[in-house]
């Protein structure tokens, strides 16, 4: 009788412990379900927390990866790409779940791109190319690769990836030739805007006022600056000619030195700004071309993602 009682007690304890474990498992599922509901409702902040909770409490590797991906989606919706990227890194190691791993790598590259870490995005896309060649040959990956290369000003890489994106599509030969022709023009080295040296612009304006502005690509501002300097010098000369030597010196030359040194600084600044503006416009042009190409491939529906 005594032994039966002891046996019963052990059995009950085991049952209670087992029920705790199953409860923990079902709890994680509950967290994920709750997170998904919050996500659908558009409450991305709480969804991100709920996914993180599932990640934290789950002991299952697959579940953790899924929760991490869910959290990244919620963070992306909130525009917090760098945090999403940082959290995805936790699941970036090679795992038994390649379909999840490649998705995580893609999301990492995407978040890198969105948070302007273009070289890191290229690195992650390189991993996808190495580990998942079949996934790599898909328009979204190629599009991201091409865009990241454009933004990091790696023109050769950008050209190669855009060609690969083009080749993924089975365009009619005539259409393909036309697109290839455009691609050659857009990605030609000669179309990359020439950078103007800010130092050179400053030096030019030091020796001949206004020429630094011309060099930087702002002739109107150059003319205005040169005109201001000539006018102030003329005023100084006129006052000296009228025997107002001290006033001529103070007012005329005072104004002249302001325009002169200001002109040098402005030429330098404009050269920097002009470089940035021209490069941004060129990148926009290339990005538009690549996005159009991607849209065409979407329309063709060559390969699903």
């Amino acid at each position: 009788m005594k032994w039966i009682s002891v046996f019963c007690l052990i059995f009950i304890s085991l049952c209670v412990n087992f029920s705790h474990e199953t409860r923990a498992e079902s709890q994680v599922e509950k967290f994920i379900k709750e997170a998904e509901e919050l996500f659908v409702q558009g409450n991305f902040f709480e969804a991100a927390i709920a996914f993180e909770r599932a990640y934290f409490f789950s002991g299952d590797a697959r579940q953790r990866m899924e929760a991490n991906l869910g959290r990244a989606q919620a963070l992306k919706q909130r525009g917090d790409f760098s945090k999403a990227r940082r959290d995805l890194q936790r699941s970036a190691h090679l795992s038994r779940f390649p379909e999840l791993h490649r998705q995580i790598l893609y999301e990492m590259a995407f978040c890198d791109y969105m948070s302007a870490n273009y070289s890191s995005a290229i690195g992650v896309l390189g991993q996808i190319q190495h580990f998942y060649p079949e996934f790599y040959d898909s328009p979204p990956v190629m599009l991201l690769y091409s865009l990241a290369a454009i933004m990091s000003e790696d023109w050769d890489l950008a050209r190669d990836k855009t060609i690969e994106l083009l080749l993924l599509n089975q365009f009619e030969p005539q259409k393909a030739d036309s697109l290839m022709g455009k691609l050659d023009i857009f990605f030609c080295e000669c179309s990359v805007p020439e950078k103007r040296s800010p130092d050179r612009a400053a030096k030019l304006s030091t020796f001949l006022p206004g020429t630094g502005h011309f060099y930087a690509g702002y002739p109107g501002k150059g003319l205005l600056n040169a005109g201001s300097q000539i006018t102030s010098l003329g005023l100084a000369g006129y006052m000296a000619w009228s025997n107002l030597y001290i006033s001529g010196f103070v007012i005329g030359l005072g104004m002249f030195q302001s325009f002169y040194f200001g002109g040098i600084r402005q030429a330098e600044y404009l050269a920097q700004q002009g470089n940035l503006n021209r490069m941004a416009a060129h990148k926009e042009l290339l990005k538009d071309f690549v996005l159009d190409l991607y849209q065409l491939s979407e329309e063709q529906n060559v390969q699903g993602f």
């Binding site: 009788m1 209670v16 103070v250």
Partner: protein, 290 residues
Amino acid sequence: MKFTGLCFLLFFLLQNNMTVFAQTEEEISKELKFINHLLGRQNNDEALFLLENLQSDNSLQQDTIYYLTGWTLYNQKALEASAWYLAMVSRESSWFEKSNFFAAYNLTYLGEREKSLARLNLFDDNFSREIIEMKNFQLAGISLLDRRLDDFQRYSAGFTGKLSFMAAEEEKLVNYYERIKSAPNRSPFLAGLMSAAVPGMGRIYAGKTAEGIAGFLYVGAMLAATYDFYNRLGSSNPFFLISAGLSGIFYIGNIWGSVISVQRVKNEFNYEMDQRILLDIHIPLRKLFP
């Protein structure tokens, strides 16, 4: 047989009830672990969101909730709210020392020195030697911030220089005390008078040499141009009148600027001292409570 059956039933009920009873505390404990995980990953806003919705009947757990909330807010530089939560941590909690010191520091930083002193005075002689020395150090820092130099002397007499986490800062506070004590007390009136005699001289006296030289040059240039107009064109010429008017404005502006610059220099000095003191009373706290 009956007895065994009764024992069996009792055990079963107890185990189930204990599980239910422990559930809330256990759940809160789990939630706190999760919050710590979020904080460890610098997800402060998410941790705060959870902490705000968390409450426990267990006073020690509630203290931990207060502490974590206060500490997170402190890391987010929301010092007023942080001080409030940290001050809620009870004396029985293991977080009390850290919470109370940081609540006091936050209040000091916010300029609420009286409240800060009250918090520091909660550390009585029952606390360890380290805590008492830290209290003395913080009190010395606050008295220096209030420019109560006699009080500072009294507190600094207790500086031992033996505690590695604040020996350097003790020396620094003494150094600030010397600098504050020997800071020149310049007269704004005298500065104005000096600038009236020689434009820019008042600013040089105030300690702004470059501004003084610049002031002298532009007022001098304006006066020279005015003299030139007067000399060549006469006193009724509009150029002379405009120039004279502008020179007068520059001249008076320079005098007024000199008067203000004395106060400005004083404010800059006080601000710099306050920032240094606040930093140096903060460093030992972070070393003692990482």
